[in-house]
């Protein structure tokens, strides 16, 4: 992506709705607010409002960026579907980024950072990143499982449950991945559905 390109970035994987308009790594406008499990209602009006306030139209966008999870299944689908549709119907490139990387990018200090999302029953979606200056790098792949042992394994990492994403840091760190086939993009759920797990278990 060229440095001056205009980007729309969307993440709906957690309770916090994130929409940002960027020119290069300069944030023009952004919205970061806790929702009530209603991203389906709020995402599109938020995008509409930001475009209006910035005086941009969707045709001016050079690339779309979307958080693809893990996170809330219903939530992450909203952002992924909207981003897929925008990219496909405008013919512009689409970049994907881990929703856990988005959280990690919001860390305020250098060192190991452990983005964590609650996945109920003592389980979490989690990963491990390291921030040094303007670089964020992946240390441990994202996973679903019990949080306590993961924390015990990495006592020097600071858990981070929620933070406003920093697109500049993600860009500098090369954590945005170009999507080759927009049609085939799907969220990262990290888990099969309960019905599939039961079938696998022969129940």
């Amino acid at each position: 992506m060229k440095a001056s390109s205009k980007r729309l970035i969307i993440d709906t994987a957690t309770a916090w709705l994130y929409v940002g308009l960027f020119d290069g790594d300069t944030c023009i406008l952004e919205h970061y607010e806790k929702g009530q499990n209603n991203h389906s209602v709020t995402l599109m009006p938020t995008i509409e409002r930001l475009f209006k306030e910035a005086g941009w139209t969707i045709d001016a966008i050079d690339a779309f960026v979307v958080g693809i999870g893990p996170g809330s299944y219903t939530g992450v689908r909203i952002g992924v579907v909207v981003a897929k549709m925008f990219a496909w119907t405008t013919g512009k490139p689409l970049f994907k980024v881990s929703s856990l990387a988005l959280i990690a990018s919001g860390t305020s200090r250098d060192g190991l950072v452990m983005p964590v999302m609650d996945a109920r029953r003592g389980n979490a979606f989690m990963a491990l990143y390291e921030k040094r200056g303007n670089r964020l790098s992946l240390v441990q792949e994202e996973r679903h499982g019990a949080l306590a042992p993961f924390k015990d394994e990495h006592p020097d990492a600071s858990p981070l449950e929620q933070a406003k994403p920093d697109l500049g840091l993600l860009l500098d760190s090369g954590l945005l991945v170009a999507v080759d086939s927009i049609h085939h993009l799907a969220p990262v759920y990290l888990r099969k559905t309960e019905a599939e797990r039961n079938l696998d278990d022969g129940r």
């Binding site: 389906s40 599109m44 995008i47 299944y73 897929k84 049609h183």
Partner: protein, 330 residues
């Protein structure tokens, strides 16, 4: 007026393009049925995941087949409900993003209005009209005095007729979905198993739990006594009773409201025994059944309903449009 419509209320991802509420320019349906068969029914989370995978491909095909450009579209329509909420939200957000990207107005449409308007594709509606809506989730009689005016006369007090078909098919070990299987098998059977006469409080209401339980109990009792159940005869006996109940209540509605037209709508409208019974019974009114391909969920029917909804109400929605698993037809 060109309408692009999106339907994703259950396990079909569909996009259609229609002109002037009549001409279907394209109707692409991506069915997930084979994925859900292993589970004996639709798994909502799997359905939602599949909709995300398929939705832009289906849009692309529908627009290409229709031979139009996005700028040619006057209205984007999308099924708002009722249906599986996770599935609905995928179609709704896809439709909103598409409409926003091209500056096209958007409108949410009731799924059952779509099933009813599937009949307008080949026939023209005559009013007053009585519609029998029959599917896995619905069994109801609706009166229409004009386009896009719906009055519910009655509905099932318990199970939907399609649900009863699925349960009966399951107890007979016939697989899923039960409707088409029983319909096919019944042709080869005789109605030798006695079935209860269904009674309801209202003369336009339906009840299928008694009939369903009767079949399940009969089959289980026979199995216990080591008697063989002939699935063909059981299918024929059940189907005869199920269809007779639909016909009797429909007859009440047609006569009381001096209907000029009677239509059937919904997945069970594909049932051959029901189609034959309505043509055999209702000679004094014009009878319309939807073409087979428009009986199951599809976006073409939603485009036709959207056209008439817009013509009647001149109303559209905004970007806050949301799905509803339950929604009143109005």
């Amino acid at each position: 007026m060109i309408v692009l419509s999106v339907e994703s209320s259950c396990d079909e991802t569909s996009v259609a393009v229609a002109r002037d509420g009549k001409e279907i320019l394209s109707n692409v349906v991506l069915s997930q049925i084979s994925l859900h068969q292993a589970f004996g029914g639709v798994v909502p989370e799997i359905a939602s995941r599949e909709h995300v995978k398929g939705v832009t491909v289906v849009f692309e095909q529908a627009i290409q087949e229709a031979g139009i450009k996005p700028q040619d579209i006057d209205l984007v329509a999308v099924t708002q409900g009722p249906g599986l909420i996770g599935s609905l939200l995928v179609g709704i957000n896809a439709a909103k993003a598409f409409a926003f990207a091209h500056g096209i107005p958007i409108t949410g449409v009731h799924h059952i209005a779509g099933h009813i308007y599937a009949n307008q594709i080949e026939d023209d509606m005559l009013f007053p009209l009585v519609a029998l809506v029959v599917s896995g989730g619905h069994t109801e009689l609706i009166l229409m005095r004009d386009h896009y005016r719906f009055e519910k006369l009655g509905e099932t007090q318990d199970d939907a007729v399609g649900e009863a078909y699925d349960k009966v098919a399951r107890v007979l070990g016939l697989g899923y979905p039960g409707g088409p299987i029983i319909d096919k098998l019944a042709v080869e059977g005789t109605t030798r198993y006695p079935m209860p006469h269904i009674k309801t409080a209202g003369k336009y209401d339906f009840s299928y739990s008694g009939l369903k339980s009767h079949v399940i109990n009969t089959v289980n009792t026979m199995k216990m006594k080591k008697e063989t159940v002939d699935p063909k005869d059981m299918a024929a006996s059940f189907q005869e009773a199920a269809v007779r109940h639909l016909i009797e209540q429909s007859k009440n509605a047609i006569e009381d409201h001096q209907a000029k037209m009677f239509i059937i709508a919904g997945g069970v409208a594909a049932n051959k025994a029901l189609r034959k019974a309505v043509f055999d019974t209702f000679k004094a009114v014009k009878v319309s059944v939807p073409p087979f391909k428009y009986c199951t969920d599809n976006a073409a029917m939603m485009a036709i309903a959207a056209h008439y909804q817009y013509q009647t109400k001149q109303r559209t929605d905004d970007m806050a449009l949301n799905g509803a698993s339950r929604l009143i037809l109005s």
